[in-house]
Amino acid sequence: MLTVVEKVIFLQDVDIFEFASSEDLSYIAMITEEIHLPENEKIYSLGDASDTMYLIISGKVRLHRNGEEVMIAQRKDVFGTWALFDDEPRVVTATCMQDCQLLRLEREDFFNLLADHSRITEGILKSMAKRLRALLTRTTN
């Protein structure tokens, strides 16, 4: 099992947390749960209630809908992010393509953390704004 500091080292490279300080990452690390899943295991299915985000430490995860592949997430990728921000059901199914080591982050724990650490919220907003700006620039171009 990873220690909190090891989780922090991993979280540093996750783009949504790029503006968080190392100590703030340690608070996030404390509320994540490390899970190990075998190949072909379904993490969640289309239409499931969503309340968890996942981060891939090792392995690959296939995100698909009605047989069509949407994307393949790999090490340091995050999936199920929207679960943190809305109550809508899952729009894709997530299946392990290999044995996977993941970190799960529950919405309720995450929001409780944000309520007490405004700096983390600030960092996440910054990173989302950066993503949106990049998206806009790409669309405009």
């Binding site: 220690t3 909190v4 500091v5 090891e6 922090v8 080292i9 540093q12 300080s21 190392s22 100590e23 340690s26 404390m30 309720e108 724990d109 409780n112 953390l113 309520a115 007490d116």
Partner: protein, 941 residues
């Protein structure tokens, strides 16, 4: 009788004493003012001629500006009650001095001028202090209802003061009238003390915060630039300026004609006293009989034209018949309409201006524009009377010219106002908490009806908020329609708005008792109680209804009424109902789906009504399986403000899902929870999560004790807690300007932060050297990927720690003599990335910082990167060999965890006994990293 009082003044249960005391306070103040004003005028005119009045106007303008500057410097630093009491005490002493000089017939020119100017300043200070005080005595909603009643105190005070002067001048002489003022003002001092203790003190803290926020909102723009950038404000300020000049000309003409006609001092005093009071009566009659109707039927435009037109007529009269009756007509037409119709009209046109802007601009207009105009009028009169030797009657020509400009500006302002109002409703930019005027203008009513009849729920709610204290039958059909609106929020709001109307919509309101929404039921019941001749009976009827939902709503409504009106506590006993609900809960007779809501409601009622007998129920609900019940119990505990709850509430700070509610509840308990919170902060056994949460609670309480507690805890806590404490101190400094921060403690902490920065800088340098040794092969074995990542994490953390220290130095500097906002702006500019702004900020720091600190901060800020920073550091004993050991024996848990992880991955030797001790550390991060370090170390061996 109760209904009669409510009908006329809308004074509600529990407000009577406060309103009455404030009524008498302003009554006595204005009566005093109306006594000293005639004394001053007669004294001046019998000693000098009316031609000297322009000099007095000029002196008043200059003195007012000077006094305002000095006064505002003190006003921001002294607690309001102390400020008002000391000013009032000083006024009494000065009045006694004046009485002595007047009684000994002292008539030196300087004294007469000084007395003239003093009365003008006295008038401004006492009235502005009164309204400032009133703002803390009543909340915004109360103010909207009660300021009319209190304003009537000012008018009746004016009537009494003037007539008393007229009657007593001949009887006791002009000089002894001053003693009557002393007596009146001494009573005011007693009233201030009673009202402050009873009501104002508790509101003071909260309002200071709001005020600070308002100031911050507009801090970027000066009042002048706000005025220049808005057409609406430009016209408004110009109209105020012209009206002040015209008022001074009118005053001059009136005084000059009176002085020509009468020579005796006492006769003149009585004359001025009589006419000032008569003016107040006429003003009152116009206010009661015509102002509302003029606004309702002719709109704001007409209300703004009445004053200039009446002064125009008066000036024409003086021009052709400069007799005493014409002077009286001119003065009455100016004074009576100014305080009634024109004042209401101006208040109405200022309604669409955002509150934060209004707050700033109003002071500028009241102080700067008013006094500048008084000065200009003094100069104009001097030129006309002394240089051109123009007679009193021909001065009217100047008034006529100014009035024409005034009329033109009124037309422009009206057009701007309609446009601004439309925009303000659309943007919802009118600040509901600060608007205290009635919306009676015909054009405004039409705009509001359009919104109420529309489909946009947000706008309807906003319009209802604006109509909270407006009473106009034209809205009733729309309220009747809205009471059936699908939105519960709208229904609740309509019920609140119709509380202004007598027994309206009772049938519809009774039907709402059957509503599915608890909030709607409670609001309906609240409305029915407010309009019932016997609210206790109405509540009891609802409390014993068969339907448990109505019973529950009645319970919460009863608790709210008991909290608002302490006299109800003796008449209404809700204990049997609570016991019944408790029994039913134990017997599980309620539908399971409703149980949570019933428990939460019960907790809310106990908390609101502060029913000590049932506090054990709250303790029981603290451990309920349902989170919503626990949260309701926590909120109720905060409302109950009972020390016995504080310990549990502090424990709840450790549970993330309860933390927010626990924090708010503890803050609501206020000073009573400070001791326990201080203990939690200092106690090593208390969890870090609680310690991190405590400073935030303390920052909301905002007393001097809190500042001491936070400073005392600073030295003994871990980094995250220290960060929170410094943030809390900063917040306290911003929100509560009257709190004192010991400069010695502030300085000490700045030095500590500087030292922490230097230590971390040395750790950083040594760590970099160690890494270099690994890269160059001096140290073996070469670093693994895990070790490189660990090294980089430690490096990053050390950099972050240095940045945090710098940030805290700025925060501490903000607590010292330098203004917090300027430093915050400088800090933002420095870390904002724009080179030119950064250079200006550094330049600013160069000028304000003390030499020692300056050289350190500037060196750090000017370094392109920490790696290139060169600091001269005295020998601290930190070396390559001992730097990690020093970190491990420090008090920064996160830095320790990163260092232990680095030691675990790099294979560097360490003190195993020390690290062994960390394996049982209560901080999981340290314990895990220590275990990993020992495990890797033993494998290597």
């Amino acid at each position: 009788m109760r209904r009669l009082i409510r009908r006329f003044f809308d004074i509600r249960e529990g407000e009577g004493l406060r309103a009455l005391l404030m009524f008498f306070y302003i009554f006595l103040l204005i009566a005093s003012l109306l006594i000293v004003k005639p004394v001053r005028n007669s004294l001046f005119l019998t000693r000098f001629s009316a031609e000297q009045l322009p000099f007095a106007f000029l002196l008043v303008a200059i003195a007012a500006v000077l006094v305002t500057i000095i006064y505002s410097r003190f006003a921001n630093k002294i607690r309001l009650n102390v400020l008002i009491l000391s000013t009032t005490g000083l006024i009494i002493l000065q009045l006694l001095g004046f009485w002595f000089l007047l009684a000994t017939a002292y008539k030196a020119a300087w004294f007469i001028y000084f007395f003239y100017v003093w009365v003008a300043i006295f008038a401004v200070i006492i009235t502005s202090q009164f309204w400032l005080f009133a703002n803390y005595v009543f909340d915004a909603r109360e103010a909207r209802r009660l300021f009319g009643f209190i304003g009537a105190g000012a008018i009746t005070g004016g009537i009494l003061g003037g007539y008393l002067t007229n009657y007593l001048a001949a009887l006791i002489g002009t000089a002894n009238l001053v003693l009557v003022c002393v007596f009146f003002i001494a009573i005011c001092m007693l009233i201030i003390q009673i009202v402050w203790k009873k009501s104002a003190r508790k509101n003071y803290r909260e309002r200071m915060q709001q005020q600070k926020r308002l100031q911050q909102k507009t801090s970027e723009k000066s009042a002048l630039s706000l005025i220049l950038n808005s057409k609406h404000l430009r016209y408004f300020a110009a109209i105020v300026g012209i009206s002040v000049i015209v008022a001074n000309i009118v005053d001059y003409q009136f005084n000059a004609i009176a002085a020509k006609t009468m020579n005796n001092k006492d006769e003149l005093t009585a004359f001025f006293g009589f006419w000032l009071s008569t003016l107040s009566i006429i003003s009152l009659l116009i206010q009661i009989l015509f102002t509302g109707r003029i606004l309702k039927y002719f709109g704001v435009g007409a209300s703004l034209f009445i004053l200039p037109v009446s002064v125009l007529l008066g000036s024409l009269l003086i021009l052709f018949y400069p007799a005493l009756w014409a002077g009286i007509f001119l003065k009455v037409s100016e004074g009576a309409f100014k305080q009634s119709v024109n004042k209401a009209g101006l208040e109405l046109v200022s309604l669409p201006i955002a509150a934060a802007v209004k707050n700033k601009v109003k002071t500028f207009i009241d102080v700067f524009i008013d006094n500048l105009s008084t000065g200009i009028s003094g100069l104009l009169l001097l030129v006309l009377t002394l240089v051109f030797k123009i007679n009193i009657e021909f001065i009217s020509l100047l008034s006529l010219l100014l009035i024409l400009v005034w009329l033109y500006l009124n037309g422009r302002l009206k057009a701007e106002y309609i446009e601004s109002f439309r925009t303000a409703i659309e943007k919802r930019s009118i600040d509901l908490d600060t608007q205290t005027v009635n919306l009676d203008d015909a054009a405004v009513i039409d705009s509001m009806i359009k919104v109420l009849d529309g489909r946009n729920e947000r706008r309807i709610l906003y319009a209802l908020d604006l109509l909270e204290n407006v009473k106009n039958a034209r809205f009733l059909p729309y309220f009747r329609k809205l009471i059936l609106h699908p939105s519960d929020e709208v229904k609740v709001k309509v019920l609140s708005v119709i509380s202004n109307y007598d027994n309206e919509l009772v049938y519809e309101t009774t039907a709402l008792l059957e509503s599915e929404s608890h909030k709607v039921r409670a609001a309906a019941l609240q409305h029915l109680c407010a309009h019932s001749l016997n609210p206790v009976e109405t509540l009891e009827k609802a409390l014993y209804q068969d339907d448990f939902k109505i019973r529950n709503s009645a319970l919460i409504c009863a608790a709210m009424q008991m909290a608002q009106n302490p006299s109800l506590r003796e008449k209404l006993d809700i204990s049997p109902i609570i016991k019944q609900i408790q029994q039913n809960l134990q017997a599980k007779t309620y539908p399971p789906a409703d149980e949570i809501y019933i428990k939460a409601n019960l907790a809310q009622a106990i908390g609101r009504a502060r029913l000590q007998l049932f506090f054990p129920i709250l303790h029981h609900f603290f451990d309920d399986a349902e989170i919503n019940v626990r949260l309701a119990a926590i909120t109720a505990a905060g409302r109950a403000c009972e020390v016995s709850f504080s310990k549990r509430l502090i424990e709840f700070l450790d549970i993330p899902s309860l933390r927010k509610h626990a924090r708010e509840a503890l803050a609501e308990c206020g000073e009573s929870s400070v001791v326990l919170l201080a203990e939690a902060l200092q106690n090593p056994a208390v969890s870090p999560a609680i310690k991190i949460a405590v400073p935030r609670v303390l920052a909301l309480i905002g007393t001097q004790d809190v500042v001491e507690v936070l400073f005392a805890a600073l030295a003994a806590v871990d980094q995250p807690v220290r960060r929170q404490i410094v943030k809390a101190l900063s917040l306290l400094h911003e929100s509560f300007p009257l709190l004192k921060f010991n400069p010695r403690q502030v300085q000490q902490n700045i030095l500590q932060e500087k030292q922490a920065y230097l230590n971390n800088f040395l750790f950083f340098r040594m760590h970099k050297k160690v890494i270099k040794e690994f890269i160059s092969g001096k140290r073996k074995p070469p670093l693994s990927t895990a070790a490189v990542l660990a090294a980089s994490l430690l490096e990053k953390t050390l950099k972050e720690r240095m940045e945090e220290s710098m940030k805290r130095i700025f925060r501490f500097l903000g607590l010292s003599k330098l203004a917090g906002t300027d430093l915050r702006n400088a800090y933002k500019a420095i870390y904002g990335g724009q080179t030119d702004v950064r250079a200006n900020a550094i330049e600013y720091l160069e000028n304000v910082l003390e030499p020692d600190l300056k050289s350190f901060i500037i060196q750090v800020l000017e370094a392109p990167a920490i790696e290139k920073l060169r600091l001269t550091i005295k020998n601290t004993g930190i070396s390559k060999q001992n730097c990690y050991h020093k970190i491990l024996t420090g008090n920064d848990n996160w830095l320790k965890s990163c260092t232990l992880h680095w030691l675990a991955c790099s294979g560097i030797n360490f003190d195993t006994v020390l690290v062994q001790n960390f394996t049982g550390h209560k901080d999981l991060k340290i314990a895990q990293s220590a275990r990993l370090a020992l495990q890797n170390h033993s494998q290597e061996i």
